[in-house]
Symmetry: C2
């Protein structure tokens, strides 16, 4: 059952994941989704993102080495991924010099998507 979740794509809320899983297995409860996500997050296979829109989002931590961050539309809630090497380098430098032992990072750019900004 845990495997079923790993198939899902970028940036879904727990509710969205639940809905998708139920297409195949209607009896699965939301609690099982949360339990599976918790396990996957602990294993480092899934990242949990707080995008400030009520519910947390989850996405597979790409085994492919893909690493990206997110653009969030404050109007319609749309989320798009982006990646940038310069940004990653800057973050790595900061992480190396930080007083904390850094394990990971999140970057969220907030604004209006092309549809909402016109």
């Amino acid at each position: 059952m845990i495997d079923a979740l790993a198939d899902e794509r970028c940036c879904l809320t727990a509710q969205e994941i639940h809905d998708r899983v139920r297409l195949e297995r209607p009896r699965v409860g939301i609690a099982s989704v949360y339990r599976a996500l918790e396990t996957l997050v602990e294993l480092g296979l899934v990242h949990r993102l707080e995008l400030g829109s009520g519910g947390a989002h989850y996405e597979p931590a790409a085994a492919t080495g893909d690493h990206h961050h997110h653009l969030v539309c404050g109007d319609c809630g749309r989320v798009e991924p982006f990646a940038d090497d310069r940004l990653e380098n800057a973050i790595d430098k900061v992480s190396a010099n930080a007083s904390f032992r850094i394990h990971g990072h999140d970057v969220v750019l907030r604004g209006a998507c092309d549809a909402c900004a016109g």
Copy 2:
């Protein structure tokens, strides 16, 4: 009453703000704190941060022009601010090229603080 909140410092949860306000005015309810915070966020005087630890954090959007991001300890929940020009430059570059019209951004570095990392 709104002014009372603006005096508070960096990165408090609504609960913490409520507790502090109550020291001075014990009858203030948590709802009023949320209402005031909502107003302040809309006015751009306060930033709301989702640090992934259950509750949102709020901090004054410095009139001093101060701009910083946060280190979060995944163990004890401690939050520390940091600032880095190279990082800001990288974000500005990305924002300029993004398909969204970007209004703001958040960066969170996650790890273990000196006390927890040993």
